[in-house]
Every structure is written in structure tokens, then in C-alpha cells.
Subunit: 273 residues, 3 copies
């Protein structure tokens, strides 16, 4: 797997996969910079016709549901339908799930068009599983606020989601979790400073979408998490405060992906822990 | 008062007040980073239903009227009504006041729902007082462009605004001014480099809203101004150009609020000067 | 010409030209910071009435067609008509040209209201010339993706565009190209790291618009390109990775424009090469 990950990092650098996105206004600048940093070719849009035009041309596409505006109401479904028709992979980051009519409508629509990768924090994964009716009383989880739910609590629901979509689900957190429904991985490393900047999760998803443009979803997910853990750990050695940490982190995404020397920091996860 | 300010800084760090916002697209990334830096838990939205859902849950809310899009026309009034019903404090930053139909409509609507804190630069405060019919011929002020009106010229109108809303009004500038209509304070310090980056005023308002989630409005206003003056003064010692200054400033918001050692730099203001 | 360029840099610093913009959500923060850095006074808006109000007051205006939202459909035409009526100069950056209904509608509308400066990368210039029916079989160019078309291939179409608009056209790239239809200039220098951050082209256009507020279009274009090449070259000496490069670059825009010592790096271009 480490070999495949190294190859993924190199291919993104060499081929510059075209990865358009509908993404969060708060974090769009660092997300696009992170995507360029690892070799991706991004484009951000909010119109349905643009999504329909990008879908057949793209290598992968990234949809982040933060900071919804009215344009999302038409752009998101049109883009997803066009991706489905073109058979292109895409990544969903269900930021802000459960708030408001547009969000609920989109999440309900997406149930019929399973994303190739779902990437959320623990709370988002729990809420998504709940919105799609996959959560039952046996699930030892609760609906909390933001990233306060632990990754552990969300794991079983991530697996249920992955079995439902027959695709890959990622929980980002202090210890990332990646599953395709059959195999489950935990990833160590990273830095607590990632929680002190806005956009850490969005950047991870954006870079994962770049790798999804050149690799299988499981490989793409593990590659992005591994690179992020490595880059954030290294950044925390040169910067102890959030703004200079973010600069160091973005610099390291660029230089580590250029060198292409990932270190394995994942292990199989048996869901008990 | 300094004691209360230290306590406010510590409480924001310890309790992570939930402070959603409708805010300016230009500066939303540094605003959210500044809010996280001092311990706040932000969320940005542009839909009415999200505001209605956030209002009862939030500790305080921040509304900045820069870069209006059509979504503001419904989101701002719905959110403010929900805040009123829930009895939650909120901060208005009337950026760009007086330009265009949506802006005028919102400002006129807000007159009936007085914000807990109004934070503007001198021109914005003068224009707001004028839009609400609080400015008469005796006021030695003029409607100018942007921050070119002096803080001094706007002080009497800030006091009128505070007496009208029975709340707190802040003028940000080279020397900040804070009033609750009865007591008035001037704050020294800061750095001229704050005028060389976009978002200095928006970040101040965003952080003030975080403190409004854990303290009385007067304390919240003085705490945010004091922290900003201290952080920008320290940042200017390590960085003389705007981009590296912004990085240093955001780093210092984080580290100074973590240490929690504010220095008093305010004095009572008798409105003559 | 170098004398006029030095004067332009100094005048922008001294008079702070008022340069509002409708601009790209991805890059709006660095664009505004770049504009402030060289002395400009920016304001970003998305409403028609705001454009109509800003047009007669502004020194120049910047319209960037990236990340279109529905508001652009009315704001862009209303603003351009108001600029035309007020006789004010403006700069078009046709980012994302050719994608979607709104974009095509706006580009077709703009044909009747020639911008004072058109600034694009090679692909955008080729697509714009094509959309306006200025491209014929003799043109040795092709419609490619993004900045992959070479500047050389787009030059003849830039000249056709400049003769059509009777104004200035700029192609940004490894070697910038500036033409007013009669005189053509190539500009050397810069750094490849500019291609590793999002917003390099948007910042260039934003700063060019600031200079358009105090100088003739040809001077404004050459001044902005020269300053950018100089600043990016200097930045690449202190920073080898993209995020720290962007910080260094923005710092240098500020300090170089303050010193005001531009170095000539342009030459007449005979269109063969």
C-alpha cells in the first residue's frame, strides 16, 4: 500500500489532475492552495451549468457543503447528476450538516448518488448516517456539536455508511479513520495545531479529491491522510502558533509531495479500542 | 475592569463560546482564524433557516454587512428576529453602510432590533447615526469616505447611538473609543500596520463577538480592543510589512490570549480632546 | 516610460485611488491585500445598486469573472453601464471564460462596452477573442485548458482584441505581453512560484486596476507587470515554498512600491519569436 501511495503522490504531481469544486467560502483560499501544492489543477464554481460542463472533463470533483448560498440548491444536484452520467469519482465533505432547508434537501438528494469518498469529522459522519437512516439504537453514539464527538464513537457508523455507499468513508480527527466497509485503517501522527486553524478538514478533503483523480478511493484517502499527518507534524516542529503553522504546513504539503517520500503511519483497525 | 477582562479572555479559552456569523467574504478566513485563536467556536452561514437554528443555541452572534449577496436580504432579518426571541447578544459591524438597496433595507430593519454591540470605524458610525436619524446640525461631523473621518468627530454620535440602543458602541481607529452611553473609554496602543491589511476591523468585531459570548458587552468590547492593541503592537516589533505582520498578529492573538496577561491601556474619555 | 511608471507607483501611494471590484471569491483576500499594499483603496461588492453608486465615485474599477454567483448576472451589466456613463476606466479579468450561461451572457454583453484594460492568461485571451468573433483560421492558436496555452500563441489575438477595443490588452504568463494594438511589449523576470499560488493573476489585475486609477492604461499595465516581476523575483530569493513565498511577495509589493524604485524589464515586441 505504501508503494501505491508514493505512486499516487507522484502521479498527481506529474499529471496535474483537473479537480473542480463547489466549496466553502471560509476556507476556499487555503483549500485551492493546498490542491495546487500537491500538483492538482483546481477550479471553483457555484453554477449548475458549470458543474455540468466540468463533470465530463474532470478527473475528480470535490463538493463541500459549508456556507451554502442559494446557488448551491441547483448547482449541487446538477453537478452530481452530471458526474453520475460521466462515471467520474467525487468526494463529499458534509460540513454543517443538518442546518437549514437547503442542506437537508441536498443531503437527501445525495443519498441516491453515493459519493466515491465521504470525508467528515466524527460529528458530521454521525449526522450523515443518521440523516440517511443508518443509525439505530444499538449505535453507541450521540449527536453532538462539531468535532467534539470522538472518532471512536463514529467508527461503526462510518462502516455502515461505507457499506451503504459501497465506497470509502473517512473520519478526520486526532486519529484519522478510513474504511471501505471491509477493511478499516487508523492513522496516527499529525498535530493538535491543525485544530487551531480553519480549513484543516477542508484542505484534507480537497487534497484527497486531487488524489482521487489519479488513484482508487482507498489509496487516495490513505495517501491524503498520511501526507497531512506527516506535513502537520513537521510544521509543528518549526511553528508553535496557528498562522505561522499554517504557512509552514502549506509549504510542507508542497515540498513533501515533491519529494514524494511518505512514511507509513497507518494500521488495520479492528473497530475495538 | 482589568480583572474582568483577564477573566473574559480565560473564559473564552476555557468554554469555547459558540459564535456563528454572517460575515464579509473578503475577510471571512482571517476573521474565523482570529476567533478560533482566542478560543471561540465559529460557524459561518448565509441562510435564514440556519440563522434561526443557530440563534437559540449560540452564545453570541456576529453580523457583518460587507459584500452583501441576495441571500443576506432574508438571512439577516430572520437571524436577528430569532436572536431577539432567544434573548441572545449580538454584534453589528455595519461595513459598507449606505451603498445599495439591500444595505439600506437591512440597516432600517435593524433600528427596531438594537444590537448588543455596534462596532464600526468613524465613517460607519457617523453614517449609521445619520441613517437612524440621530444626527442633527449641531453635530460637528461630516459624511466622508471610509476610515478618513476621525474617531474624534464620530464620538458624540457614538454616544447618541449608545443612548438610543441602550447598549455599547465601539469606534475602531488609531485610538479606539468605547461607550455605553454613560461611560466612555479611549484605548491607546496598536500599530499603523493594522491599516495595511484587510480585515483588521472585521477581526476585531469577530473576536469581540466571541467575548460577548462570555461577558457583558462593555467588558467584551474593552477586552477585544485591549487584546488587539497589545497583539498588533507586539506584531509590529517582529514584522514591518503587512503580510508577515498579519501572520505575527494572528499568532499573537493565540499566544497572548493563552497567557491571558492583558495590560490596561484604556482611560475614561470626557469627550473633549 | 520608466519615469512614468515610477510616477504611477508614487501617485497610487500618495492619492490612494478608490478602486472597487466585483471579484473572485477564491482570491479576494490576497487581491484586496495586494491593492492596499500598493496604496489603493479597495471595496468589494456584488450588488447592481452598489456598482451604480461606486461607478461615478471611483478612480477605476476591477471586474473579475471567476466564481460567478447569480448576483453577478445583474451586478456586472449595471456596473459596466454606470462606468460607461461616468466615463470611468475599468479592467476586465475574464477568469473561467466560456463555462456556463451567466459567463457567456456577460462576455457577450461586455463586447459592446470595451474594457480599458483586458488582462488574462493565454487561454483566457484566446477564448475571449474567439467568443467575440475575432479569431479566424489563420490564427495559429487553439483552445486549451487554463494557462497551458503559451503566451506566444495568444499574442496575435491579443493585438486583435486591442484593435477591436481600441484599448490595452495584457497576457500574463512566464513572459507577460502588453499591447495597445500598435505598440507591443514583452516583460521578463518574475518567478515560477507565482504559478504555485492561487490568485497570482487576480492580484496582478487588481493592482493594475489601482494604477489605472492614476495613469493611462498602457502605463498602468506596464507598471503593474514590472512591479510584480520584481517583487516575485525578490520573494523567490527568500522563500522557496508557495505559502511563505506568498507572504514574502505581498510584503515586497508593499515595500517596493513604497521605495518606488522600479527597474525596467520590458522590451518592444515585434510579435515574431
Amino acid at each position: 500500500m505504501l508503494d501505491q501511495m508514493q505512486k499516487t503522490v507522484a502521479e498527481a504531481r506529474d499529471h496535474g489532475p483537473f479537480v473542480p469544486s463547489i466549496t466553502n467560502i471560509v476556507t476556499v483560499n487555503p483549500v485551492v492552495n493546498a490542491q495546487i501544492g500537491v500538483g492538482g489543477s483546481p477550479a471553483v464554481f457555484y453554477q449548475a451549468e458549470e458543474g455540468e460542463s466540468f463533470a465530463p472533463e474532470c478527473d475528480a470533483l470535490y463538493i463541500n457543503l459549508g456556507t451554502l448560498i442559494k446557488d448551491h440548491e441547483t448547482a449541487v444536484p446538477a453537478t452530481i447528476k452530471a458526474l453520475d452520467q460521466a462515471g467520474k469519482p467525487w468526494l463529499l465533505d458534509p460540513v454543517g450538516i443538518g442546518k437549514g432547508r437547503i442542506h437537508q434537501k441536498l443531503i437527501s438528494f445525495i443519498k441516491d448518488y453515493p459519493p466515491t469518498i465521504i470525508k467528515g469529522n466524527a460529528t458530521e459522519i454521525i449526522k450523515l448516517a443518521s440523516a440517511w437512516g443508518l443509525k439505530d439504537q444499538a449505535d453507541q453514539t450521540f449527536i453532538g456539536v462539531d468535532s467534539k464527538d470522538s472518532v471512536q464513537a463514529a467508527k461503526s457508523l462510518a462502516v455502515k455508511l461505507a457499506r451503504f455507499t459501497k465506497q470509502v468513508v473517512v473520519i478526520s480527527g486526532p486519529k484519522d479513520f478510513v474504511t471501505d466497509g471491509n477493511h478499516h485503517y487508523s492513522l496516527k501522527g499529525g498535530s493538535a495545531l491543525m485544530g487551531q486553524i480553519t480549513g484543516a478538514g477542508c484542505m484534507l478533503a480537497g487534497v484527497m479529491a486531487v488524489y482521487l483523480g489519479v488513484a482508487q478511493p482507498l489509496t487516495a484517502a490513505l495517501t491524503a491522510c498520511t501526507l497531512f499527518n506527516q506535513a502537520s507534524q513537521a510544521a509543528a516542529q518549526s511553528a508553535q502558533e496557528p498562522a505561522s503553522f499554517q504557512t509552514a504546513f502549506l509549504d510542507l504539503l508542497y515540498s513533501l509531495s515533491k519529494e514524494g517520500k511518505l512514511e507509513a503511519n497507518y494500521e488495520e483497525d479492528d473497530l475495538n479500542d
